[in-house]
Amino acid sequence: MSDLRDLYQQVILDHNRKPRNFRKIADANRTAEGYNPLCGDRITVEATVEDGVVKDVAFQGAGCAISKAAASMMTTSVIGKPETEVDALFHRVHAMLTGTNGAAAEIGKLAVFAGVREFPSRIKCVTLAWHALQAALHGAAKPVSTE
């Protein structure tokens, strides 16, 4: 099961068990829902943005280990960053997952998701929270779907 260890690394299992920022934000000024119709995973991402800076991000919902860990680690990666940097980070994560960017440069601990590239049916589990965050930041009215 060596490939499985690449997918389910300890960091991911830890975030699955104890997701960070798994809560509501009382004074959130951005929110969006993400939905993956293939597996039924549903996630709500809330954020507080002030002067173009993401002051706080949190999520709630049910999902697989990959989607929960991805959401958890997303929140810890983007809190305190300007929106533009968040966008750029998402593009780097996406590039890593789809293999358009060989090196996982400037992605920090999110490189732990590189193993998901070998499991194409699971890539959307990682991007679900990111798509929801993008929708929250850029004001999509409808729930975003991975499809």
Partner: protein, 419 residues
């Protein structure tokens, strides 16, 4: 269930010779991720026996032509093979006439045909359609569409915690407003076998016609539409060891005669002028355009293949697999079976504490075990049991006890990864 003496060549000693039967299915003999394939996704689609593959190849190699029009030899052969397939399927279902066998793309299209044709003719504002809480989306959404269009109302028969229909509640829903009952014979998500004959009988007391979704029944048991006395019966070829893209709608002639066509085009007409078109007779009235000729031949071949193995014997063997699989999975701490109906088909839908079905599906796949992880196109069922998704192992007569042991061992392994 009665245990008949095994009489097929595959089971000469009263023992189901599964290893010999597996030889008929080329796709089973491969490795995935370096492990022997354990195919337990039969409720999604079944593998195909060599006889079906050969029938498709033979048709395209020798007889390929269009049906019902050419005067040339190939067209005659294709027409004979296509109509022959219809007659073979008629006999398999014990329908009264080949006029009652309409070829469609799959069960979904069969239901949509009845919705569009019967529904538009016989359902009006304030009328009701009765379905159940364990239907596949294919037997929910078309009726919602019809209800929206007509101002009709969808009534849903509830289930208990085992996944059995509450028959008294069902009986209470039937009345003068009910224009159709559309009910599954076997639930794809839970494996529940519904008391379909009783369901039909109760509806008929009020002269309400019944459509049966037999997509999960035809592959695993004998079906006699005249004994059931259903008014419509649909199933898909690809779950019944035939090709994709072909399915059957059985309809009682008395209903099909009174229903308007579904789609317009060639083959479904007798004559066309710009002033008036006369529709063709049954079943062609419902078969517009060139049909899936090879598919029909392949489907008839698939049904003959399982009839040759013995439908009673198939049901008995799959029951043994179900009992063994239930025992193995129930013994794993943290496993909860979703769907424990009194009468069940060989479907094991389950969740594992602390491990999402999607993760379980990936872990199983890495060990060569193919299961479905998700909502099984039955999201209301998932809601009823308060789970977002389940892992579902669905068995066929070519699965083995050893394969179920691999399934159980891998589920145990998943627990350890997430421990």
């Amino acid at each position: 269930m009665t245990r008949n003496a095994f009489a097929t060549p595959s089971a000469p000693n009263g023992v189901w010779d599964v290893e010999r039967i597996r030889k008929d299915f080329p796709a089973l003999h491969q490795q995935v991720h370096g492990k022997p394939l354990v195919y337990l996704d039969n409720a999604a689609t079944s593998q195909k026996p060599q006889a079906v593959i050969d029938a498709l190849v033979a048709y395209y190699t020798f007889d390929n032509s269009n049906v019902h029009r050419g005067v040339h030899l190939l067209s005659e052969r294709a027409t004979e093979a296509y109509e022959g397939a219809r007659a073979r399927i008629q006999r398999h279902l014990n329908a009264a006439s080949p006029r009652e066998i309409v070829f469609v793309r799959q069960a979904t299209e069969g239901i949509n045909l009845v919705m569009a044709s019967y529904g538009r003719q016989f359902v009006g504002a304030g009328d009701e359609i009765v379905i159940s809480a364990i239907e596949h989306h294919a037997n929910i959404v078309p009726w919602q569409m019809l209800c929206e269009e007509k101002g009709a109302r969808l009534r849903v028969v509830p289930i208990d915690d085992r996944g059995d229909l509450l028959i008294e509640e069902y009986a209470g829903l039937l009345g003068p407003r009910t224009k159709l009952v559309a009910m599954t014979q076997v639930s794809n998500a839970l494996g529940t076998v519904t008391p379909i004959k009783e369901i039909i009988g109760l509806a008929h007391r009020h002269d309400i016609p019944v459509l049966v979704d037999g997509a999960q029944a035809v592959p695993h048991q004998s079906v006699d539409v005249r004994d059931l006395d259903c008014d419509f019966y649909v199933f898909s070829g690809h779950k019944a060891y035939g090709p994709t893209g072909i399915g059957v709608l059985y309809g009682k002639e008395q209903w099909l005669e009174r229903m308007p066509p579904f789609q317009g085009g060639g083959d479904m007409i007798k004559s066309v002028t710009f002033e008036k078109t006369t529709y063709n007779e049954l079943p062609y009235k419902f078969e517009a355009g060139t049909p899936h000729i090879a598919g029909a031949i392949g489907l008839a071949t698939g049904l003959e293949y399982i009839a040759g193995l013995g439908l009673e014997q198939i049901a008995d063997y799959e029951h043994e697999l179900l009992a063994y699989g239930t025992e193995l999975l129930s013994a794993i701490p943290g496993v909860r079976l979703i769907g424990t109906a009194r009468h069940k088909a060989a479907v094991l839908s389950f969740v594992l504490d602390g491990v999402h079905a999607h993760d379980l599906g990936t872990i199983l796949d890495q060990q060569g075990v193919a299961v479905r992880a998700g909502h099984h196109c039955a999201m209301p069922v998932m809601q009823r049991f308060g789970v977002p998704a389940t892992a579902r192992a669905s068995m066929a007569f070519y699965n083995t006890r050893a394969e179920l042991e691999t399934l159980a061992a891998t589920v145990e392994g998943a627990r350890e990864i997430f421990a």
